[in-house]
């Protein structure tokens, strides 16, 4: 069953007075006649007593260790970001070279007779299958390495 709660209109003022320990006569008189505000004052007082006991038994680890830990984490974070950048660059290279090779294998070498010196186009066309295979191998290795690195980064 839900119960309606009745919050006292002086509650905020009593809370402030209890926290600052600055009581006006009016508030003190009110607290004597209001059970809700009396509870508030009592709880605030007891909580501070409880805190006093707890604070005295708190340990005090060396702050330098925490500073060191924070530096190490910062370095790890930077390394992770750098690795991600390298991975992205590798992926871009792999995609670009694979796409280029795929297009050249479909459409053949571009018409660049005018720009190439004599015999260069013939050489290029002759060596294209082996260059293509080599580049494809490189691209496959790059993709495999990216996948492996991404897995390692996630594990870290």
């Amino acid at each position: 069953m839900k119960r309606a709660i009745q919050l006292c209109k002086y509650e905020a003022a009593v809370e402030k007075a209890a926290n600052l320990n600055q009581w006006t006569e009016k508030l003190q008189t009110h607290v004597q006649s209001c059970s809700s505000c009396a509870t508030l004052r009592e709880t605030a007082h007891e909580m501070r007593e409880l805190a006093r006991d707890s604070i005295t038994v708190a340990p005090e680890p060396d702050s330098k260790l925490l500073v060191l830990q924070a530096h190490l984490r910062e370095q790890q974070e930077q390394r992770r970001k750098q690795r991600m950048l390298v991975n992205m660059s590798m992926a871009a290279c792999a995609i670009a070279s694979s796409t280029g090779l795929m297009l050249s294998s479909i459409y053949g070498a571009p018409q660049t007779n005018a720009a190439l010196p004599n015999g260069a186009l013939e050489t290029l066309q002759n060596t294209l299958p082996s260059s293509w295979a080599f580049c494809l191998l490189l691209a496959t290795l790059a993709v495999a390495w990216i996948v492996f690195e991404s897995g390692a980064t996630e594990q870290n």
Binding site: E42, T43, M47
Partner: protein, 167 residues
């Protein structure tokens, strides 16, 4: 924050933060872990060039988030619906004298209630700060605090009555 400033701030704040976490979680080793982690995270934020107007509040907010994370992981987080909480019957002012052991009664409150009472009356945070730290609505804080106080008083009364019966 440079290292010297951090050391000063750390020496002033660590015992208070540790006491807060310890009293709320009731676990000494967890309090060590969370209090230290909070300061490490504060330092990390500092190195990102951000400035916080109130570092003390900020480090308490980090600790509160870490505790919530811990409660969620251990599946014992007690979300307190504003309208459905065990509220004791009205307590008369003179009954407060029957209090036996505040610390023992405090342990019997929910995690959230312990955190609320600590932040409100030990750290003297205002309701909007508490709402931010505990991920609550600002308007709910007042009601939840009221319920926490009333529950505390009921527990104290029960303790007092038990004590009298034993005597």
């Amino acid at each position: 924050m440079d290292e010297d400033n951090f050391t000063i701030f750390y020496k002033q704040t660590f015992p208070h933060l540790w006491a807060y976490v310890f009293r709320v979680t009731q676990d000494r080793s967890l309090a060590d872990e969370i209090a230290q982690e909070s300061f490490v995270r504060l330092l990390q934020e500092g190195t990102k060039g951000r400035e916080f107007t109130n570092q003390r509040s900020y480090v308490f907010a980090i600790a509160s988030n870490l505790m919530r994370e811990y409660w969620r992981r251990s599946m014992r987080f007690e979300e307190l619906p504003v309208e459905e909480q065990d509220v004791p019957s009205v307590i008369k002012n003179e009954d407060v004298d029957t209090r036996i052991d505040f610390a023992e009664s405090y342990k019997k409150l929910s995690d959230m209630q312990r955190a609320l009472l600590w932040l409100a009356y030990v750290e003297r945070c205002d309701h909007s700060e508490i709402a931010g730290m505990l991920n609550l609505k600002k308007n709910s804080v007042r009601v939840l605090l009221y319920r926490a106080r009333e529950k505390m008083q009921a527990l104290l009364m029960r303790g007092g009555l038990k004590g009298e019966a034993k005597a």
